[in-house]
């Protein structure tokens, strides 16, 4: 083996890494799509909830300047993308961990970043899918008027908004054994969604619930999503971004600590 070849191995060209990442992403998305227990529940729950609360039970009321159907569209869009991130990353990574599959991947020359980014991108794709499906239902069945710019803003916010919840997923996968990962993820997902005002608009909740909502990343993302329709109930746009950023950093810190603990014990 000549030195030239070794140098080539040590610094694989960027294009090769990108193609590894793209293939990894494609197969990750495919495998999640084919895993019906994942795709049906992650896409199905927000769709069913939206059909119930946004379409069937909707009597044409308004919240502020926008229709209930449109208000709830924002909430369930956030509910859906959060689920995709939490379950796709948290449970998916925990499963790879538990089975020793991640060891095999780590032992291969796969760039670790390609693996993590592929998981994140799959979560983003699921987020986009859910948001688009809900928008379609809203427009066709709920008389929601959605401009293209509004839809584009929703998608852009989905891409960014998934990140804090990907970090929760990472922390969960590193802390929680696979056998209890789905249960614990639900224990975080559902209360966090409710307390963040994603199921029932915040103003209909008791006052103390409105106070603790400020601690929920779901609340901040929900408000930002409503902001894409030109509606905000409380707080400034900047305060919501700060809220999400703070939460993301907290989760990254927890994930880093958990990773260090795991490395020391391996």
């Amino acid at each position: 083996m000549s030195t030239a070849t070794l140098d080539f191995h040590r610094f694989p060209p960027l294009t090769r890494n990108i193609s590894i990442f793209l293939r990894e992403t494609r197969y990750e998305f495919l495998r999640l799509m084919r895993t019906r227990s994942f795709s049906f529940s992650v896409v199905g729950f927000p769709v069913v909830f939206y059909l119930f609360f946004g379409i069937v039970m909707n009597r044409g009321q308004q919240i502020g300047a926008i229709s209930v159907a449109k208000y709830v569209l924002a909430s369930y869009a956030v509910f859906g993308m959060v689920g995709a991130a939490l379950f796709g990353i948290g449970v998916g990574l925990a499963a790879d961990f538990a089975a020793g599959w991640l060891d095999l991947k780590r032992a291969s020359p796969m760039p670790p970043l390609a693996y993590v980014l592929a998981k994140c991108c799959s979560a983003v794709f699921f987020g986009i899918l859910i948001v688009s499906l809900l928008a379609l239902i809203g427009i066709t069945m709920g008389h929601v008027s959605l401009t293209f710019v509004e839809y584009a803003r929703m998608i852009a916010l989905t891409i960014v908004g998934v990140i804090p919840f990907v970090c929760v997923g990472l922390a969960l996968a590193l802390l929680v054994p696979f056998s209890s990962a789905p249960g614990i993820t639900n224990m975080i997902y559902l209360p966090m969604s409710f307390c963040g005002g994603l199921w029932v608009p915040l103003m209909f909740l008791p006052h103390f619930m409105q106070t603790i909502a400020v601690l929920m990343p779901t609340y901040h993302l929900g408000q930002l999503m409503l902001g894409t329709f030109g509606y905000t109930s409380t707080g400034t746009t900047l305060s919501h971004w700060y809220g999400l950023l703070g939460f993301t950093l907290l989760m990254l810190g927890i994930a880093a600590a958990a990773l260090r603990r795991l490395e020391q014990s391996s």
Partner: protein, 324 residues
Amino acid sequence: MSAVLELPQPDVVPIPCPSIEPVASLNHVTKRIPSGVVALDNLCLTLRRGEVVALLGPNGAGKSTAVKLLMGLSSPTSGTVNIFGADPRNHSARMRTGVMLQVGKAPEMLRVREHIELFRGYYPSPMAYADIIKVAGLDGIESRFFGQLSGGQKQRVLFALALAGDPDLIFLDEPTVGLDIKSRRGMWAQIELLASRGKTVLLTTHYLEEADSLAQHIVVIDRGRIVCEGTPAEVKSLGSVTRGALNSRSIKIIRCATTIPTHVLLNIPGVTSATVSGELTTILTTQAESTMREILALDPSLYSIDVQSPKLEDAFLALTGEHE
């Protein structure tokens, strides 16, 4: 050619036999896991180019730990690990290494073909797809989902993934577990073929037969220590490996009636196993002479002592019986 060899340059004459160039090594590696258990105890292991080495031992002997250290998946408590002259975590080392680990579950909703394509993509010059399918015997099941495969088929897919990068060094952790006799023989033939192409193979197994038929060098370990090592013939005749009494790696069985508790016996250098049945204590040791001196000093009232050279099967039954 002879003219070239006669050039008066004795200093730059290459290493005479390239086949003894070490490809991978564990140098005095001790691995203590957080619970305090010593998984590997001052283990030395050298893999040379084109060699098939078998790490033979019962469950829990430290075989998988050794493979994980060699793969850079965990780091030793003390000692060093070397792959192609570099740290095992080095990217260039990983490019030239393939591994088959004992994996509980792989992503089930990917097809066999997709799994292989994914792993081939990690390497700049992977083995041809058709060759992998042929070598691993995956013809006809390429389009199946991993989750639909039988245990033996899954095992063969994992073997295929180890070969995907056409690596020079291959680690196979219990490659034939769960395989029927026919598939096992098939995999043995493929491993032999790999070695004949100059690949270096380390396989772990608890089947003596497997180590015997594949490996040029067998290392028997138990509880993280080397019990004995050598060619299959040497290992089978255990006692005859002696290269002077002091550095002999040969194992002896000492039977005696003694009051020394087993945990004290296990701390004596060379002792790999100590069991009590009735009056008699059975001690397996790699350093019979020093162990004898030690136990006689510890227990002056010791009696009915008997020292034997065991057959490998005897040693194995004693070793494995301990854990099950």
